[in-house]
């Protein structure tokens, strides 16, 4: 069974139709790239999956492990194994990263009927996962993302993903604002998490990220719909020819 099934999804934001009958299937363990020009609806798709308010689903279905996500609060989606890596991770002054991570992990465990992790158990996991991403302990004691560079914020997103162990991770333009070294660190972090039980939706404008996180399938999103699906070579073709053919096709 597919892990994620989106059928004929229509979404409005501020009264404007952004997604127009989007169909997408992501199999368990699959890494699916979604590429598209600016304004095609990439970030809207990411936020709708995570459950942000202000995104009005006017038609269609979103099934996650066979269960409808529409109307489900974001925290419940997270507990069921959905994770969104934000394009612009938020700074939360006054909430230490460690506190945030532990609160999140234990809230999810509680909702799944698992026992909460003790502080020492949690600390061991967090320090171990942070170490692999080159995040030092001092950063974990600071407020979430406060004073972090762009690269540090993205690494922090991957750290959260590593600790929360989602079934499906949606990466919203994780490459934006990253230099090549940071991109490598973040990609390696993501690749370590690849497994037959975990799927990824990698949303990006540029092919570059897909050199590091090699997808199983590439979808092209334009004007709120998937207009083409292919293998990883499709990303190279887009890099070469650009998005013009898709936007023109739609316009005609």
């Amino acid at each position: 069974m597919a892990l994620l099934e989106i059928k004929n999804l229509h979404v409005k934001v501020d009264g404007k139709q952004i997604l127009n009958g989007l169909n997408l299937t992501v199999e368990a363990g699959q890494v699916a790239a979604i590429m598209g020009p600016n304004g095609s609806g990439k970030s809207t798709l990411a936020h709708v999956l995570a459950g942000k308010d202000d995104y009005e689903v006017t038609d269609g279905q979103v099934l996650f492990a066979g269960e409808s996500l529409i109307g489900m609060p974001p925290d419940e989606r997270a507990a069921k194994g959905l994770f969104l890596a934000f394009q612009y991770p938020i700074e939360i002054p006054g909430v230490a990263t460690m506190t945030f991570l532990r609160t999140a992990l234990n809230a999810q465990r509680k909702k799944r009927g698992q026992e909460e992790l003790s502080a020492p158990d949690f600390n061991r996991r967090a320090f171990d996962a942070a170490g692999k991403l080159g995040i030092d302990r001092d950063m974990l004691r600071r407020g979430v993302n406060v004073g972090f560079s762009g690269g540090e914020k993205k690494r922090n997103e991957v750290l959260q993903m590593a600790l929360l162990e989602p079934k499906l991770a949606v990466l919203d333009e994780t490459d934006s604002g990253l230099d090549i070294d940071a991109l490598k660190v973040v990609s390696e972090g993501v690749n370590r998490l690849r497994s037959p039980e975990r799927s990824f939706v990698v949303i990006t404008h540029y092919q570059r990220l897909l050199d590091y996180i090699v997808p199983d399938v590439v979808h092209v999103l334009s004007r709120g719909r998937i207009v083409r699906t292919g293998g990883k070579e499709l990303a190279l073709e887009l890099e070469d020819k650009g998005y013009a053919q898709y936007t023109e096709e739609m316009a005609s």
Binding site: A50, G51, K52, D53, P73, P74, D75, R77, A78, A79, F83, L84, F86, P89, I90, I92, P93, G94, V95, T99, F100, T103, A104, L105, A107, Q108, K111, G143, Q160, L164
Partner: protein
């Protein structure tokens, strides 16, 4: 200025006049001081919304009547006070207990006072005409504030604390003001703390009472911070929901001193915390902070008058309020920089977090600067929790209510972090968490 023509007194004003006439004979000492203070009250009446400093806290409207003066606590009242202040046990302060406004030595920890520390009853000092007290009382930071005048007229008891030059107290002094909650009553306490040159003292003041008590509290504290002294004062207002609480702090701070003030308010029906701080000597560093958490129809007002008269003092004011239900938070902060106070560095901020559409925040920062080489600024905000922040937390699996709690704790944490005593910081953080659990 001509006195207002006020032919009609309110019921509360009449009751206060009657109470003063009948009580002045048995109030302890300071007869002349009381008489002139009462005259000040009679001329002005209870302050109301057309008096600028009381614009948002109309005391005349809040005081429908004046409660009778509290009787001295009986054995049962004292028994109820036995565990008062227990929430602060971790701080290991020296407990000094006042029940219904009366200093109760047998409930207080007066054994083995550190060298240079004396603690005694204000009532006794006034009765015996103790010059060390009468010469200072009302003169630490002179003010014609009517609430202070009422306190001076009716002050029944309180404590006089003296810390000798260079003495460094190892334990905080914890003044526990407990309302035993029998019949409705008004309580007037006045305390004086004189901290000598180069001395170190921490003063915690917690106000609590049995739930449902119908009390009117008027409490005042005068603090003299000597040159090079380091004084921390933390006041926690946590009385029952029926309480009207008016508090005045007058602090005169010497040269090269450190003075940290913190006001933590979660309870009582109506609270007015007024602070009059006078920087008299150069090179002093002060932090004046507070956190207020209100719900239902609670009303709390923080009014500061910070007067810089000396060169090169640094003051930081950070106030945070969290307003739920139909509550109302008021902040009035005035920083005055006198012509001589060059190189003053003053920054004041007041931020309110509105958790409901019916809560209200009123903020009035004022700078009066008469010197030309100063750095002063203020900022004031009021707003709801940031939706994007909340979404980030929820997207990580944190339920909405818990996400809000985390944000609120972070918001007030910025002020609480200014408290130097780690143990007390933890107690207040716990109290914020407890408050969050009481949200409806």
């Amino acid at each position: 200025m001509n006195a207002d023509v006020r032919p009609i007194k309110t019921a509360a004003e009449t009751a206060l006049s009657t109470a003063f006439a009948s009580a002045k004979g048995r109030l302890p000492g300071a007869t002349t001081l009381r008489e002139s203070a009462f005259k000040r009250f009679e001329t002005a009446g209870l302050p109301h919304r057309r008096v600028e400093e009381w614009k948002y806290t109309d005391l005349r409207a809040f005081m429908r009547d004046a409660k009778p003066l509290a009787s001295p606590p009986d054995a049962a009242a004292k028994a109820r006070a036995k565990n008062a202040g227990a929430a602060f046990a971790a701080v290991e302060g020296r407990r000094i207990v006042l029940v219904d406004g009366a200093f109760v030595p047998e409930l207080s920890d007066l054994a083995g006072l550190e060298a240079g520390l004396t603690i005694r009853s204000l009532a006794q000092a006034l009765t015996s005409g103790d010059a060390a007290v009468t010469e200072r009382l009302g003169k630490v930071v002179p003010t014609d504030n009517v609430a202070v005048a009422l306190n001076t007229a009716f002050m029944g008891d309180g404590v006089v604390i003296e810390v000798a030059e260079r003495a460094a107290l190892t334990r905080p002094l914890h003044l526990v003001f407990f309302n035993a909650g029998g019949a409705p009553a008004s309580v007037f306490t006045r305390s004086l703390a004189v901290v000598g040159k180069g001395a170190r003292a921490m003063l915690i003041e917690s106000h609590e009472g049995v739930a449902g008590s119908d009390y009117q509290i008027n409490t005042a504290l005068e603090i003299v911070v000597g040159d090079e002294a380091h004084v921390d004062h933390v006041k926690i207002t946590g009385e029952g929901a029926g309480t009207l609480h008016v508090s005045s702090l007058m602090a005169a701070v010497g040269a090269h001193a450190r003075f940290n003030e913190f006001l933590f308010t979660t309870a009582a029906a109506v609270v007015r915390n007024q602070l009059f701080v006078h920087f008299k000597g150069e090179g002093t560093v002060a932090g004046i902070r507070g956190a207020t958490l209100l719900q239902r129809r609670q009303h709390a007002d923080t009014t500061l008058v910070i007067d810089h008269t000396a060169v090169g003092c640094i003051s930081r004011e950070v106030f945070k309020s969290v307003l739920d239900g139909e509550s109302r938070g008021v902040f009035q902060g005035k920083i005055i920089v006198q012509p001589k106070a060059q190189k003053t560095d003053g920054k004041m901020s007041a931020h309110a977090l509105l958790l409901s559409d019916d809560a209200e925040s009123d903020s009035k920062p004022e700078l009066e600067i008469f010197a030309d080489d100063v750095q002063c600024g203020h900022g004031s905000t009021a707003g709801a929790l940031d939706d994007d922040l909340l979404f980030y937390l929820k997207a990580r699996g944190i339920p909405a209510k818990e996400a809000e709690a985390l944000m609120i704790q972070a918001f007030v944490g910025e002020a609480i972090d200014g408290i130097e005593h780690a143990g007390l910081r933890d107690v207040l953080i716990d109290q914020v968490a407890a408050w969050l659990k009481t949200r409806e």
